[in-house]
Symmetry: C2
């Protein structure tokens, strides 16, 4: 608990190995200040309570938890945020979730993997914290799309993350060409993500839709022993074959 009158909203990143068969020691991917803050927090706003309990169990193996897992307060984000994102019209008012902070407890926002509110729900909670005058403290941890960008060799001084592309094959091809055109015109690297089982379809769609000289990077298994980031021109990809597997999430980036 914070000693000031109001608690803070902590943004606690989690390892990227959520749901993976093998997991690295948590201190390999989260620095000490993050582990300590997580261990001292007793109130959580989470994408999924079950995965947060698993996370706290791992934190507890490294740092003593302030109170036992069973006595922690975990509140899940409402389903509408999962489905529609935080910023759709009629978005929900997250202020009631922050009652504990108004009463002096630090409250942590957490997602299943990586940084909360980045490529994941939760920004409504952050916004509500600002509107309530709470201090918002982001903690250091892994962010898959930034690791991908750094390792892509693409322009990291001007880039955009655009989330998921359309699932329909015609709309997806149109969107890929649109992102490529933007990258060619402005030099802005374009980053997107895909769920595991759609990776093979996404990858072959990209090779079909993009121009031969466009550079395409594909990352998977980041922070795991199996981590892979490959980056080459569309022409070189076609010669190299390969591509992402259908069993881990992947991050994609294209640019010039």
């Amino acid at each position: 608990m914070n000693t000031s009158a109001q608690g803070r909203l902590l943004l606690v990143p989690t390892p990227l190995d959520f749901g993976c068969a093998s997991q690295a020691p948590i201190e390999d991917v989260l620095p000490l200040a993050t582990l300590r803050a997580a261990a001292q927090t007793t109130h959580w706003i989470t994408e999924n309570a079950k995965s947060t309990r698993a996370f706290l169990k791992r934190v507890g193996e490294h740092q003593t938890l302030a109170v036992p897992l069973q006595q922690q307060t975990l509140t899940e984000l409402p389903r509408v945020v999962h489905k529609k994102g935080d910023h759709q019209a009629g978005g929900f008012d997250a202020k009631p979730l922050l009652q504990a902070a108004l009463q002096g407890h630090d409250v942590a926002l957490v997602s299943e993997a990586g940084m909360p509110a980045v490529a994941d729900p939760g920004s409504s909670v952050v916004r509500a914290a600002h509107d309530l005058g709470l201090q918002v403290l982001p903690l250091v941890g892994p962010v898959s799309l930034l690791l991908t960008l750094a390792a892509s060799g693409l322009n990291g001084q001007n880039f955009a993350f655009v989330g998921y592309l359309p699932q329909d094959s015609i709309e997806r091809a149109t969107r890929l060409k649109q992102l490529e055109s933007l990258a060619l015109k402005t030099g802005q690297t374009q980053i997107w993500i895909e769920t595991p089982y759609r990776n093979p379809a996404m990858f072959s769609a990209a090779l079909q839709a993009l121009q031969p000289n466009t550079r395409l990077a594909v990352a998977s298994g980041l922070t795991l022993a199996s981590a892979s980031v490959q980056s080459r021109s569309v022409t070189a990809w076609k010669k190299a074959q390969g591509g992402p597997s259908g069993d881990t999430p992947a991050v994609y980036a294209l640019g010039i």
Copy 2:
């Protein structure tokens, strides 16, 4: 040194407190896998050799360095990359910098603060590594613009980082309005950075140029005890007064 025939290119993030009067323990902001990798690496490609030596000294206080600092090989990126970025026409060929990797040594790319090749030079080196068939391994550490985005309460599922804005006041106002218009039209959060001494001018330019309901976030001192992220509408900023100081770098974000 790596045991395979070729070394890897490691992307080693550094603390964000470069040049700051007070510095946190390095293990508070870099996880163990990053510290271990840094301690085991003997060949460095760096934005600035002096700051990398200071970084290695801090790493060495936590993990034994594979060879003493004096025997490490540090190569600075050419000045043209600092000045013009990696992706200007006639960009330099970084392959010669990676000779040591071809001879079996892991080589690390590092910037003065944060993640190399993200909002910092170095992507030509990453690109050259891919072209040489080297494995590229990004390591976990702090990235100021992502910490800002997470803590802004702005849309983190669609965002762009655009680097620095123009210095000329008329061009800067035009660019601010252009970024705002893009955010209003597409929902895409726009993030940019500014050097310390220009913060007061940037902040008042933003309050003048942007519409009353646009939300503006300003972050400074991230990962330091003095960390601050504030996020409110332009109208609320005008009432609240305040704003970033002229002695630490700041990250800005706007959105709806």
